[in-house]
Symmetry: C3
Subunit: 338 residues, 3 copies
């Protein structure tokens, strides 16, 4: 808004440091589409519990992306809701995981997370005619481009990363231990972490956002497991959460954020969660020739497609600003509706 030499960032950091930190905390929670600072705090704690590198780069990524938004004078309401930070959070985690812990990775994290803020603005423009929001697409685009281009560059590439899980073959027998591991790792894999107790802490964070959010995430996770089992996916992939993290996100997005609370909508959300599980296999195969990473594309594509269909399907209903949600949410223009 200011047209001066560029004090937006400096003013934000010096006069409102706490606003900056709260916005960043909300940003961590917005990866799961939740703006509550307590949700963000519990998820951040879970990320540090997963390892100091994951915790550090998630923190740095969120702070950098949010600071970039201040510097470029993005709408303060959007920043305040954490909507400028979540893609940075995931990008930081993806870069340290793909490129390893090197000085160059810090530089790339700064550049990459700044770019997520620009791409969030790009997608806001491109999706506006359809009333869709960017979701985690800025993260997928930046991380995908960086992982794809990195091996061409001697100064940032230090050998192949850990091999990506290959969800295309293996045993299909399943035990109770596999099932409950899958239920929780589906939640942690949203943040590229394979750990049931990290998922458990995150689920506690989602519970702080309200019963409906908790239910949507849990039922999404179950729908992902059931779909993957029914299709005959390898058990090892199911129990490590590879087939279910997109279902968790679809469950939250369609079940608790973007649609009204009706029985048809609930069925539609569960159907979408199951679809995203099948789509995970297709997208993983599609990206295989490029050593590609599936990231959260199945969630994004499923949610965009199903939300764009709603205006043509009168049986379903989008959430209104003051909808029947069991917990108070900010109005769309305030930002939860990414």
């Amino acid at each position: 808004m200011t047209s001066g030499a560029g004090p937006g960032l400096r003013r934000a950091l010096t006069r409102q440091p706490s606003a900056y930190l709260v916005a960043s905390l909300r940003g961590v929670g917005q990866v799961d589409l939740q703006a509550q600072p307590l949700t963000g705090a519990l998820i951040l704690a879970a990320l540090w519990a997963a390892g100091w590198q994951v915790g550090l780069f998630a923190t740095l990524g969120t702070l950098i992306a949010t600071a970039t938004a201040y510097a470029l004078d993005v709408d303060r309401g959007s920043i305040g809701q954490g909507l400028q930070g979540y893609s940075g959070c995931l990008t930081g985690i993806a870069l340290v995981g793909s490129l390893g812990h090197h000085p160059a990775t810090y530089v790339l994290t700064v550049v990459g997370c700044a770019v997520t803020t620009v791409l969030t603005a790009t997608l806001a423009t491109l999706l506006a005619p359809y009333r869709l929001t960017p979701l985690t697409a800025p993260f997928c685009l930046v991380s995908g481009v960086m992982v794809l281009g990195a091996p061409s560059f001697a100064r940032i590439w230090h050998g192949a990363p850990a091999p990506v899980a290959n969800p295309t073959s293996g045993d299909t027998g399943i035990t109770f231990s596999d099932l409950w591991h899958a239920f929780f790792t589906n939640v942690s894999q949203v943040f590229l972490v394979n750990s049931w107790y990290v998922g458990l802490i995150m689920l506690a964070g989602l519970a702080c956002a309200g019963l409906r959010v908790l239910l949507a995430a849990a039922l999404g996770s179950v729908a992902g497991i059931v779909a993957a089992w029914a299709l005959g996916a390898p058990t090892a992939q199911i129990s490590s959460g590879i087939y279910g993290y997109n279902a968790v996100l679809v469950g939250i997005a369609l079940g608790a954020v973007f649609l009204a609370a009706t029985p048809w909508n609930a069925g539609y959300a569960l159907f979408g969660a199951a679809l995203s599980t099948g789509l995970t296999a297709a997208i993983t195969s599609l990206f295989t020739p490029f050593d590609g990473h599936t990231f959260t594309w199945p969630f994004i594509l499923t949610t965009w497609a199903l939300l764009a269909a709603v205006p043509q399907l009168p049986r379903l209903r989008a959430a209104t600003a003051r909808g029947p949600s069991p917990h108070p949410r900010p109005r769309p223009e305030e930002g939860t509706h990414r």
Copy 2:
């Protein structure tokens, strides 16, 4: 439109069973962009003549997709014109051809054809700003994703399907027998069937839709053959219709449905039919690393690109609702203009 518990489908099936069946019959004809029930009936007969599996899955697919549209309360005018069924028709055929005749294929056909109805709504929203229509893209998306993802899943994958025809090498000498086979199989390959007499019956169905439709389909087929021969495509691929089915569809779409009947438009339609033939080779090469299937993407992309250009090219003119077409067509908002 009703806001009740969900009786749309039940009411449609119990109170208007004949409307449901006519809408489904029109749906089969809408694969070729024609709403006449007689056209749909002849094409359906041709599909059963091609084999009971093809006929059965085409019928099931159309019925399921149309029923899904009733259940989700899609606009009745659109359903009545068959515009909710044609992608299901093709999806059923593609799934039984790719996955084989197994119990799992029936389940996937139900899910896949329901998803085509949702994606038809999605694309209607996304394409509305450009006044374009979904064409057969919902079919290509659903079938493409399913064929790509299927090998990852033990319960739905029963070994490799018949190898996809490889239109990239072979003899280029051509005989009269090759030519007339190509002319008719170009029409049948729209439905993934390689059989000249199936194409002949379908052409008879198109003749019932009017002389202009028949001419457009026939000239599209000829343009595809001429273009493929001139480029030097392998004769075996030309005579089995691989290079011409997209040209047939482009011929009908641009020559008889979406553009007015002027000499420049006719030339543009033939040019588009030839372009789609060249594009077929490029898209087939593009999909090769993914064991991909070209389906009707060349038709869709060519038609979208050429139609979107029309408003900038005053030499060409879009069809008006009450245009100079030689046979009566419903107004666009009633649905023939997918």
Copy 3:
């Protein structure tokens, strides 16, 4: 605008031959987003200096694409600014380079360059809601499809073309000679030419368009070199301009054409130039399985993404019709703003 039998092209060629030639000359310059005939003339001279095949096919391509626009009655203002010819210019160069100098290549150049004019119209429609312009995307689409499809066709394929430069491995030490070669070949590689003195002549042409254009191109080239060196790209690729031509185009587009002249915008343009360098590696890897060609996709994608973000980022400002540019430019509706 005329509704007669089709005299647009004939009238243009017989009554206004000089207008047709000037429009084509501007078309050559519009590859670098400049409408000045003198700029176009110097660039055309540089292309003939690069070799008679390059010069001939650049000339033919521009003439064909511009003539197609007359024939299809495209807006005369747009034709007059050269906005219908630049994609044909690049397509002609790309086709003779990829397919070799054969009779079939002439035929494909006629068809391909006519299609670029249609696709320019297509993209004008599709991008209008976002106030973006087609840039060189019609060239990339047509040339990409033709290069991808060509090996399938016996009559147009005469063996593999010269191997595409592989920018993914090699030494990273750099000398002063490498640096100044890179600076100029970055400019010539916009036209797929690897020659420092061709780049020098082109830069002289850009100087004729004004100091700001020259500075933007030069700083874009420097940003590309610095980014490629910092990332650790192979020196051989840097000095042959593979990593910098997109940066030159981004520099001109964001630094001198589409954005106002402010310090923040200048920084944004340089940041974009560096980004396009990194993106070049990712897109080259992406296209590798298809023997694909990167062409100017990194420029196009970077420029579209960064321009679409501007409305959401109040720190940055789009250029106005009568902006602070140091040299007179036509108003957007007259066409420099592709």
